[in-house]
Each structure stands twice: as C-alpha cells, then as structure tokens.
C-alpha cells in the first residue's frame, strides 16, 4: 500500500498545515520524547548545578560521613561526608560535557573522513579504509586506554582534553565507516547524477546534495555516541584513569573505596549508577526514535 499524497492533484490544496515538529515528535515518538525530557532535565541540572545543588560538591564533612538518605541528604553522603545528590548533580555537568564534546569531536572528524574517503575514492579511499580497519580492531575501551596511556592522565590546562581525546578517537573510525557508505550510496543516487549533468562544481554538489543527506545518519550517530561516551567516561573514571578526584564524576563515585561499603552504605553505589544508566538510557531512547523519525521511509 503506497499511501502517497493523493490529494496533491487539487490546485488549491491548503498550504499544508506544517505541523509543529516538536509536537509531532512527541506524538509519534512518545518514548523518544520521554528520553529527550530526561536529557533536558539532566542538562538543566548540569547548567544550573550551582543553584540547584544543596551543598558544595567538594566540601568534606567528617561529621556527616556515610549518612543514610534523609531529608538533609536525599541520596546520603559518602565516606568523606560529601553530599551524594550534590555530587550527582555536578557529575551531570562532567558527564554531559565530556559525553557531548567527545561525541561531537569524534563524529565530526569521522564524518569528514568518511565523506572525503567516499568523495575522493581511489587511492585515498583505499588508504583511509585500511587505516580504519586497523583502528577498528581495537575494542573501544582498549583504544581509549591506549590513548590515555599516550596523552597522560592529567587534565590539560584544567580541561579534560586528554579524556575527550581518549573517548573521541575510538569513535572516529566507527563513524567514518558508516558515513562513508552512506555517502557512497548518495553519490550513486540519480539526483546527484542530475546535478553532475547540470555542470555544478564539486563543492556545490558536496555542500548542497551530499552533506544535507549525510546529516541524518550523522545526527543519529551523534546522539548514540553521546550515550557511548558517557558510559566510556564512567568506565575510565571508575578505573581511576579518567576524571580525577576531587572533581565529581559518576564513574569516579563508584571507584576505589566505595566497594568497601557494599553493606554499610549501599546508597553510595546505587545512586551514581542509576544516574549513569538513566542518562544513557535516555540518550538511547531518544537516538532510536530519532532514527525512526529521520528515516524517510517512515514519512509520507
């Protein structure tokens, strides 16, 4: 059943009601919208952490060590008496910043490499492909750890550039490969042939016909890799090779001593993990829906 727009024959068919895309997204992708909502809440928490958070994330309070959740400390406190809810709110800042920036860097570099590889073809393509093959034989976290070993564990100029590199680099070959095949498929489309037959410049064809059509897979991967990056940051921090104390980070909150308090202070373990899982879950939900949403097959 092809449900094509059959009323299009009439001359004065309404300037179609262009439905509000946000409302339409909520209506047709309720799960994705829920994911987006969680993401927005997390983002708000990250941005307004200074205002929302009840305590100073790094303030040590030996009087309140290992307090169970209460009205005063809704998520309890850790072994230094630091408020866990506060650290989770500030941790959102760390997670989202590193997650988003590394996904953006990784996906963008990957996309540029993928498109170039597809566009130039021939020897360039072959070389890039071999290089990508090599990088793909490293599991993500292994490559990230190698990069950590290379760039060191100290933040550069106070920013976690080392961490961002460690997370972004494993993303690059994965995105490059997907974008390359998408670009190759688009390059073979008749509308690109039509543009070539129109005598436009290469740059014109790339910018007006190739890139806008690679944008959908790019956005989908960008979302999906934010989730991956947050997980990866948590893993690295957990291993003590990511964010370092006393900066609040979810993975870090689970590392080191916290495993000594399985029974004494389970809240120390439960809440940061829930924060990680919930955020990644939200990004995955949103990413899945975004993929369906941007897939022209689902549009009529």
């Amino acid at each position: 059943m092809t449900a094509i727009d059959q009323n299009a024959g009439a001359p004065t068919v309404a300037r179609r009601r262009q439905p509000n895309p946000v409302l339409a997204f909520i209506r047709f992708q309720p799960l994705g919208a829920a994911g987006l909502l969680v993401i927005l809440i997390m983002a708000a928490a990250a941005i307004f952490a200074d205002v929302i958070a009840p305590y100073d994330p790094e303030a040590i309070d030996f009087m309140a060590m290992l307090t169970a959740p209460s009205w005063e400390h809704p998520f309890g406190t850790d072994a230094f008496g630091r408020d866990i809810m506060t650290r989770i709110i500030y941790g959102a800042r760390t997670a989202l910043t590193i997650g988003f920036v590394s996904s953006f860097v990784g996906c963008s570099l990957g996309a540029i490499i993928g498109v170039s590889s597809a566009y130039f073809g021939g020897r360039v393509d072959l070389t890039i492909q071999r290089f990508i093959d090599i990088l793909l034989s490293y599991p993500i976290i292994v490559l990230a750890l190698v990069v950590v070993a290379v760039v060191g564990r100290q933040p550069i100029a106070g920013i976690d550039i080392n961490l961002i590199l460690a997370i972004a680099i494993p993303i690059i070959p994965r995105v490059a490969r997907v974008v390359r095949s998408a670009a190759l498929a688009i390059r073979a489309m008749p509308y690109v042939d039509a543009a070539r037959a129109g005598g436009y410049s290469d740059a014109h064809i790339i910018f007006r016909h190739l890139l806008p059509n690679v944008l959908a897979p790019y956005l989908i991967m960008l979302t999906a890799y934010v989730a991956q990056a947050i997980l990866l940051e948590a893993s690295l921090s957990f291993l003590g090779l990511g964010v370092s104390e006393p900066k609040p980070a979810w993975g870090l909150m689970l590392s080191g001593d916290s495993s000594n308090f399985y029974q004494e202070a389970p809240w120390m373990i439960i809440f940061p993990g829930v924060a990680i899982s919930l955020t990644v879950f939200a990004f995955n939900l949103f990413g899945d829906s975004l993929r369906d949403w941007l897939d022209p097959k689902f549009k009529t």
Binding site: D5, Q6, R16, P190, A194, G199
Partner: protein, 681 residues
C-alpha cells in the same frame, strides 16, 4: 436517459456452471498512520472453472489486495478484511479456521508473485522449496517428492532438472526463477492459480516465454487462472474475462472481447486510449486521463472516477449501480449504455493534436561509441572481467526530433545516455553535439555545454534530492548556472511548474509530498530550467502507471513542439518508443541491431531480434492477438560479461547458422535510411 431499464439481476446472464471462486462484496481495510485506507471497497468478481480471468488496474486500485485476501495473506496487523464473502467450492474462505485455510493454500489454490528475484528463499535449495508443498499436502516421501519435483521442472521447461534441484535461487536467472515459482504453484495440481503481475519484472522476450508457458499449462492441466496485471496487452492476449478495477472497486467486468470491443465505462475507455500502441501510428496525441486517482483514506462520494471523467454528468454524484449487458458484462457507470453505443458526448475536452515537423539538420552525431567497464566479481575471489556495455554504436539525431533507443536490460541503452552526458567516460568513439566532440571536450567546455544538454531519469523517487524543496530544485539551475537573481528565479520557477503541468504553489513542497507523476514533472521542469536544446530521457515513464504515463508522454511531446527540443528517448517499451520517436535504434547486448524511421521499422522490421521483440509485446486488442501466432524467443539473455561470439544474437536467433557464430555482422543500409546488422538479410 434510458439506462435505468437496463438494470437486471445478474444470474439471468451468468454462465451455466457454478463459478469456481466468487468474491462477493469484499472489503479490505489497512490502518495507516494517517487513518484507515479502504483499499478494497465492495468488490465482486467470479471465475468459472477452466477460465482465465484478468484483474486489471493501476497501482493502488486494490487488485493485488483482493487476491491476497483470497489467500488470507494480507499483511498483518495493518490489513484486515472488513466484510464480504469469498466462496470457493461452496465454502466461505473468510470463515474457515486457519488450519483448514492453510491446507487449502498451495494445494487447491496457488499463488505466483511479481518479484521472482525475492520470492524464493535465498538460503534453501530449489528442490526443497518445490518439494515442501508436496510433503506437507500430499504426504509424499523424499523419493516420491524428488521424482515429482524433477517432473515439474521438466514441465516448466528447466533442463537438467536433477542437478538443478540441489541449487539455490541465486544460481537461476529471473525468468528461470519465475519458472520455478510456477513449478511450485503447480506442484499439488491446484484448481486455481492466482498470478500477481507474474511478468512485470521480466524483459519483454522472457515475459512472452513465461506467459506462453502459463497459458499452455493452464489449458493442458485444466487449471483456472486469475492474472493480475496492469498491462492491457497481456489481458488481450491471455484472458477470457476481465475485471477492471479503479480506486478499490470493480468498474467494469465482462468477457475480454466485449470489454475491449465495446467498453462501457469511461475509465476502461480512458485506459485503452492512454496506452501507446504498437499497432497505431504516431500522428495522434495520447488521450490521457487527467488528474490522479482519489485518496482512499477519504474517497469521494458518488462515482469515484467522476473527478477525472470526460463524460461526467450531474448524476455522477450518486454512486452508480452496475448496468448489465449480454454475456455478463457489467459496468458501474450511469452512462454505460450510451458509452457502448458511442452516443455519449464528452463533457470535458480531450487533448488532441498532431506533432510538428522538424528540420533535417543533425544536432547530435554519435560515431563508433564504445564503453567498457572493468568489473570485479563478488568477494575476494572475484575474477576480473570486462563488460562490453556499448560496442561501436553510431547514430544521429536531427534537431527537433526524437530518437528512440530500445532494448532489454543489459543492452547498453542507459550507458549510451550516460556517456553522452559524460556521467561516464567513453572508452572510444565520438559524440558530436553541434559539431563539437563531447568525449574529448575539456572540463570547462563541458561545463558550458551542460546547460544545453539535460537529462530526465527513470525513477522519480530518487532523482530529486529529498531534502530540497521543489522550488529550490528547479531554481538551482537558474541561480547557479544561469545567473538569474533569486527573486526573478522565483517567478521563473512558477512558470516552469505551470509549463510542466504542476501548480505554482507546489514550489513549497518536498518531493515526498508529491505523487510519482508529479515528481517526474518536477524532473522535467528542472531540465527545462537550463533551457536546453537536447534532453536525454532515460526511461522517463517506465516507473509510472498507465494513465500517468500518457500524461508525461504528452507533456514531452508538447514541449518538443513548443520549444523545439531534441530528445534521446531511452525505453524498453516498444509501444511507448513508437509513440514518441521519429527514428528508432534497437539494441541488443551493447550493439545496434537495427535502425530505421519509426513507421518503417514497425511496418517492416528486418532484423530477427526486432521481429521477435515486436512479436513478444502483446497488443491490447483480443481480436488482433488471436489472429497472430506469437513466436516467443527461446533461451535466456546472455551475460554481458561473456557475450556470444560473432553475432551476439545468434544464441537465440531462429535464423542463426554456423556463420553467425563466426562473423560480427556490420550495420548495413539495407533500404534507404533503414539499417540492420544481420548477414542473413
């Protein structure tokens, strides 16, 4: 208005025996994101034992859906039967328990589908797939089933059956796979076979083989056949009865002779007029059915065809009942009787006119054009090879004229178009456009020439950038190639849209919001925006429905007349090519077989391949079809990777001799202006 007296009950006219299957007031609905589509809305048809019935109509008219409903194979959960009965041998199929229905499928009723390439399971052997129904329904042992499968493969004309049973579908060609599908369909000696567009995906000569096979087997084995098709020629050649469907309903039904000879519904009449025909000359415009079929999400009340009907009267706002005539012909039109007697007057004008004459100055001269592709087989072990896609092809096109380039898949026609456009680099030869060789033209020069040479592609879905507005698609050449200011470009876009038969406000839509025909018009408008003198039309209508096809062909005709355009028209449909072309080149496996002016070629084809092609294509006229004895070409299309030696056609040529295997025939002028490549002429 005397039609009311013609209303008579159906059983007084029907044939003496009880029908094998009768579909009564069938309603099928599909729930979609936008609402419920009533794909089949009160459909009746029935078939007598031993008869061949054709269900005709355009895409989305509900013909396949009603067949799937018979099999109870509608896509779940979207599709469901909303009402009606399907009586088969006294039982209503719609109320049978699923287990009984399953026993019926493949045993009493078989179905053959459109896409032979995807209808067989790629991971199971042909043998297993043929033997499956034998074991399930007839409880045969392995040995019995194997013996029967070998017998069946022989029956459908697949040689070396024993060995082929162990092979997988990808080792068979499209035509062979369809033969396998037929063998599966025949396996349990069914009473009824439903064939859903069984040859649409196949080349003309293969199509003829398959249809002949089906006709022969159904007659020999006494099987009742329901063929679903959009091709009126097939109906005329093979059907005893025909039911014409439109927008979810049967608008006319009757014996094929009568429906073709004296159609009683304006849609039937329109369909027959809008098909370009092999047996008619070019000097008339195709009468088209304007507009588009209604949206079945919200079908109009009254006659569903009224909006497009040239015979529309006030009464058409009321749903027309069936008007019966002799021999069980019935039509859902208030003016059925008038139409049959030719009394009805058109209330709307039909496009008509003749095509202007052209000068004789050549605009494009192709000489010795050759294109080879280096290919690598699949996988790492793939062997290298050369596809000789185009081999030493020469022709010329005069200004203001159309050259038709015809042939089956793999004949190189599309490659020629792409090479002229320099989307592919030629391996050899020259393409002179206004005297200038395009093959050797510099990049800069080519870029300049590209405004004069444009292209229209086959697939209206993928030839428009899905992320650009229609207006931007058409404005792109204006702004970036012709230096027109944005504001003026907007006006020009509106003009071009109107010129291409669209509405100016469609500029603000995205391609996916348009229908296939409308998209093709956008493609035409984009080409015209360059103000070219020459357009390569690469199968511009083959993806469209018959009534839409006619509209596009007429548009191309009009534009040629008005703007003095020159076309290279590439197609596989001989009738379409005949309608639009002044001169025709017939190709086979990368070579020119024959070249002549249109009327000469169709009246007196010289090359055996051209003759076979003309024979293979059925004409929508049962009387004519019965009069001629179609000679289907035997054999398969050879692979272009390993074309036969000598004359590439010798493997399938009825006239071939030893010499044909040795010498490559030259293209010779046999009569003035009529060339052919055959040593036997």
């Amino acid at each position: 208005m005397s039609s009311a007296t013609l209303l008579e009950p159906t059983h007084t006219q029907t044939a003496p025996t009880a029908p094998l299957i009768s579909v009564e007031d069938l309603r099928v609905e599909f729930s979609t994101g936008r609402g419920v589509v009533k794909a089949v809305d009160g459909v009746n048809w029935s078939v007598q034992p031993g008869e061949t019935m054709a269900l005709v109509g355009e895409s989305g008219c509900g013909k396949s859906v009603s067949a799937l409903a018979v099999m109870r194979l509608l896509a779940k959960p979207a599709g469901r039967v909303a009402g009606g009965r399907i009586m088969f041998e006294g039982r209503d199929l719609l109320t049978l328990p699923e287990s009984e229905m399953r026993e019926l499928r493949g045993r009493d009723i078989s179905m053959i589908f459109q896409e032979p390439m995807t209808s067989l399971n790629p991971t199971l052997t042909i043998g297993l797939q043929i033997m499956e129904p034998l074991k399930i329904h007839l409880g045969m042992s392995d040995e019995q089933a194997t013996a029967r499968a070998i017998e069946l493969l022989g029956l459908v004309g697949i040689p070396d059956a024993e060995r082929r049973l162990g092979q997988y579908p990808h080792q068979f060609s499209g035509g062979m796979r369809q033969r396998v599908m037929i063998a599966i369909g025949l396996a349990c000696n069914p009473k009824l076979i439903i064939a859903d567009e069984p040859t649409t995906a196949l080349d003309v000569t293969i199509q003829a083989q398959i249809l002949e096979l089906m006709k022969d087997l159904s007659r020999r084995l006494g099987i009742t056949l329901v063929i679903i098709t959009h091709n009126l020629g097939i109906v005329a050649r093979y059907a005893d009865r025909v039911a014409v469907m439109y927008a979810g309903r049967v608008v006319e039904e009757g014996p094929a002779d009568q429906v073709f000879g004296a159609p009683r519904h304006p849609y039937t009449i329109g369909l027959m007029r809008s098909v370009p025909r092999l047996d008619r000359p070019r000097e008339y415009k195709l009468a088209t059915i304007e507009g588009l079929p209604p949206n079945l999400l919200a079908p109009p009340s009254g006659c569903r065809f009224a909006a497009r009907c040239p015979f529309r009267i006030e009464k058409c706002a009321i749903d027309p009942p069936y008007h019966y005539a002799g021999d069980g012909q019935r039509s859902a039109c208030h003016r059925a009787e008038e139409l049959a007697q030719g009394l009805a007057e058109q209330t709307a004008a039909v496009v008509a006119g003749t095509v202007g004459q052209a000068t004789t100055e050549p605009l494009l001269v192709v000489r010795g054009l050759t294109k080879h592709f280096e290919v690598r087989g699949r996988g790492l072990m793939g062997t290298k090879g050369t596809v000789r896609a185009v081999e030493n092809v020469s022709f010329s096109i005069e200004k203001g004229r159309t050259l038709g380039l015809v042939g089956e898949s793999g004949c190189g026609k599309t490659t020629i178009g792409r090479t002229i456009l320099r989307l592919e680099e030629a391996t050899g030869g020259e393409v002179r456009f206004e005297g200038e060789d395009l093959v050797t033209a510099s990049r800069a020069r080519m870029k300049a020439l590209r405004t004069k040479i444009q292209v229209i592609f086959q697939d209206p879905y993928s030839s428009l950038n899905p992320r650009m507005l229609v207006g931007d698609i058409i404005a792109e050449p204006l702004i970036f190639r012709r230096g027109i200011k944005k504001r003026e470009a907007r006006e020009r876009v509106a003009e071009l849209l109107v010129q291409s038969g669209l509405y100016a406000d469609m500029a603000d839509r995205y391609p996916h919001q348009l229908s296939g025909g409308q998209r093709q018009r956008v493609g035409i408008a984009r080409a015209l925006a360059m103000e070219p003198s020459f357009i390569v039309c690469d199968e511009p209508v083959s993806a469209l429905d018959v009534s839409i096809q006619g509209q596009i062909i007429n548009l191309l005709d009009e534009l040629q007349e008005r703007l003095g355009l020159t076309y290279l028209f590439i197609a596989h449909d001989l009738a379409v090519v005949r309608h639009i072309s002044h001169r025709i080149v017939v190709m086979y496996l990368g070579r020119v077989m024959e070249m002549a002016d249109r009327d000469e070629l169709y009246a007196a084809p010289l090359h055996p391949y051209t003759q076979a092609l003309l024979d293979a294509a059925p004409v929508p006229d049962p009387a004519m079809e019965r009069a001629r004895q179609p000679r289907a070409l035997t054999g398969e299309l050879p692979s272009p990777l390993a074309p036969p030696s000598g004359c590439v056609f010798h493997t399938r040529c009825p006239m071939a001799s030893a010499e044909c295997r040795q010498t490559v025939p030259e293209v010779r002028e046999i009569r003035p202006g009529h060339f052919a490549a055959c040593i036997k002429i």
